[in-house]
Amino acid sequence: MSERFAVKDLITVGIFSVIMIVLIFAFGMLGYIPILMIGLPIIAALICGIPFMLFLTRVNKFGMVTLMGLILGIVMFLSGHTWIPIVVFTLCALIADIILKMGDYSSVKNSIIAHGVFILGVFGNMLPFFILRDYFLGAIAESMGNDYVNVISPFLTYECLIVLVILTFIVGCISAYVGKLVLKKHFEKAGIA
């Protein structure tokens, strides 16, 4: 195992993880506005496209994307998001890695789809909130009657979760495409893509 990655690859994974984390946390602050909290994965998908595409230009081995997912999950865990993100991030990243492998790490189409799958890992952060919502609903129903529950509950169902997952995937693909364009505009000229 330790023969497979050079130190350079590991450092690349670390640096790009930092950028993803900073972006996710910076825009995660928006989540304190209640309605936007539900849309957080979509925002994350929107902004992580550019760094992810740049990261992919430096990936040529199977496992690097998976490793990045694992690292992101561990950092989420260390910063207090419970252990769920580790599992979800790693799984999504593994699927993304397999998709990339099928495109031999150079196919544009595969890398766009891979970003869509990879970014679904952000739901690892959301799942505890969705579990908490059941308690919220119970508490609200007890203290304020059923009217309020009827107003809020459309946003809290599992159907809504599924719609969110699909939307996030689509937005992730679009932002990966945008990322590819930005890469062409800025980084290829500078000779680092």
Partner: protein, 241 residues
């Protein structure tokens, strides 16, 4: 604290991680204060006896307010105020302990300490190196963001309402310099670590000895007792019902 220098409060990174895992069980269930109390106090103890007294007091203050709202104010309020209070108090009372513990883990751990204790417990290199890069690089990303903001202000494109009208441009202007400097840093770091022999397959030696001291054992025992009470409360409840 009359404990003397060699009794300094210093816990091993491994203990911190175990504590995080234990506290994260708390998030999923609602429990009365006498059940979850011990686990709530663990981050407080950690913060209080290291150099974060202010943060510790703020934390316990917020927690008490959240609990107070939950128990005494909620039955008497109605309308939108009530929704806000429910959101605040439930989020705070469940998520706050684990957020604070995470904050403590990240701010109080030195990179070399972390590497030493991780290598002692045989965590593979593939995980240690990226995480130590993260510890090392996050502060410099913040500095870079600051200087990019300054440079943009100089060109008349700061955080104003005008620039917020074109958020795509804003994102592009931030993202491209950060990414370019990140790529450069990653090249420089790998060159630096190669010269220091990071790719050497031999076992590394460390200046810091990562050993469990008595604080580690005290905290671990306390939190395991807390977890025991906590799980007994739920499992026992199920059996009785």
């Amino acid at each position: 604290m009359e404990l003397g220098l060699d009794n300094q409060f210093k816990i091993d990174p491994r203990t911190k991680i175990i504590l995080l895992v234990i506290i994260s069980f708390m998030v999923f269930n609602e429990a009365p204060l006498y059940v979850s109390g011990i686990l709530v106090l663990v981050p407080f103890i950690c913060l209080f006896f290291s150099d974060y007294k202010k943060a510790a007091i703020i934390y316990i203050f917020l927690y008490v307010i959240a609990r107070y709202i939950q128990i005494y104010l909620l039955p008497n309020t109605t309308g939108i105020v009530s929704i806000l209070l429910v959101t605040f108090s439930y989020t705070a009372s469940r998520m706050l302990p684990i957020f604070v513990m995470g904050y403590y883990t990240i701010t109080s751990t030195k990179v070399s300490e972390f590497i030493a204790s991780m290598e002692k417990s045989n965590v593979p290199k593939e995980i240690i190196i990226p995480i130590s890069v993260i510890f090392r690089y996050i502060p410099s990303v913040y500095e870079e963001i600051k200087s990019i903001t300054n440079a943009m202000k100089m060109r008349g494109f700061g955080f104003t309402t005008k620039s917020l009208k074109s958020p795509l441009k804003l994102i592009e202007f931030y993202m491209v310099p950060i990414l370019i400097s990140a790529v450069k840093t990653s090249d420089e770091l790998s060159a630096a670590s190669l010269t220091r022999g990071l790719s050497n397959p031999e076992k590394r030696t460390h200046l810091i000895d990562a050993e469990f001291n008595k604080w580690d054992y005290i905290l671990l025992i306390v939190s395991i007792i807390g977890l025991g009470i906590y799980s007994y409360y739920f499992i026992g409840g199920v059996v009785l019902a």
